[in-house]
Symmetry: C2
Subunit: 236 residues, 2 copies
């Protein structure tokens, strides 16, 4: 467990991180190989979890009738959310492709079950939300594993969780955390779609790092690394 | 962006996933190289985020006085949470090493700022928590990048967020999501500590995967992959 990573192994990890995309419009119809999908799910299952509670489940969905119902929930929610933004942003918003529910090979709903190994879970008493945070870590493992295997993934968050729970028969105490679309893709875009269309810019790393306290940028202990980050030295 | 991953590159990614540990007792005092820390932070910053909102900040902490205050919060919360569990689990719980706040080289508090690029963030209207989910994806990127660089990471969740906000001067509207300890380590353990001490077992993958609906295991569409997962075929 302790040998260092070779340069190729490191490159593999960073390649997954930097070329991972939220895929909406580039799905291809061919199925995902069973072994590939198992590997992706197994990577997700090896995420960290608070108190080793492993509170996630993965519901794999192919059925078209189920997906059509999920797509209806998306359509309703998109219409509703469009009322929250003013033109010209509204028109731009409505022109964006934001889901691949029917065009992807497989949908996966990832859920959080707070009762698993409960009620006392080590590390979850002070901040109960950490159970959900564990599920999100599993989702990111899943996403990166998919990229490594050449499989695209899109997270659809314009959905009603009430609808999802009804459609997938999820019990009252379980929380749907993510609805994911997976499949082969015609390409992984060079940049995130929302960056390409000019919706929002990518922030510089220097804009998200503070030193010792919130909003503090000038702590002398951190001068050297701060210089490195500000000058955008090639740390990628 | 589209070439396939070589076998070595894939191995690198999976090696990070399967050998990543939540480190508490194996930290070494030597500092983390600035370039390494920058690379780890940059990987975190390249996580997916709802509506490309990049709502995370990373507060880097070395100051011993700050860390002592955080350690006090941990001690208080651990005592409090121990009252929630009965012996013999309580004694076992209290014997576990659960943080490396002072023994690690650097602490990092990762926060969520819902006002960034807001109030309208694409994909956050139906499920507002997706902003927090994005921050968790960044944390998992950070964790895996650290492992790739040979740096251990421990997530301390036995803390009061109110204490953290006071200590780090985090404004009212910003939410602390994770308090992380990073540093070189004497070893990455073969298994999670809580598995080793027999606190909880690792679940089989078959126990967390459903087909088409919650709790459904026998959908014929999925027979083949289910067989693969149940028989624990070597998908790792």
């Amino acid at each position: 467990m302790n040998e260092e990573f070779s340069q190729d192994e490191k490159n593999g990890f960073y390649k997954a991180v930097f070329s991972r995309r939220d895929v909406r419009s580039h799905f291809m119809p061919e199925p995902i190989d069973d072994k590939t999908l198992s590997k992706i799910l197994n990577a997700a299952h090896h995420a960290p979890s608070v108190g080793f509670s492993q509170p996630w489940n993965f519901i794999l969905i192919k059925d078209v009738e189920t997906r059509k119902k999920v797509k209806e929930s998306f359509d309703d929610e998109r219409k509703r959310s469009a009322t929250l933004v003013e033109d010209p942003k509204r028109t731009k918003y409505l022109s964006l492709r934001l889901e691949g529910i029917l065009s992807s090979a497989v949908n996966v709903c990832v859920t959080y079950d707070p009762t698993k190994f409960g009620p006392f879970v080590i590390g979850r008493s002070s901040i109960p939300e950490t159970g959900i945070y564990s599920v999100c870590c599993a989702i990111q493992n899943l996403w990166l594993a998919a990229r490594t295997e050449g499989i695209g993934l899109g997270w659809v968050s314009i959905l009603s969780n009430d609808d999802l729970k009804k459609i997938l028969e999820i019990p009252e105490h379980v929380v749907p955390i993510a609805y994911l679309c997976l499949g082969h893709v015609s390409e992984f875009a060079e940049k995130p779609d929302l960056e390409t269309v000019g919706w929002l810019p990518r922030l510089d790393l220097k804009d998200v790092v503070f030193y010792e306290k919130w909003n503090s940028l000038d702590d002398p202990t951190w001068n050297q690394i701060r210089q490195m980050i500000v000058s955008n030295l090639d740390y990628a």
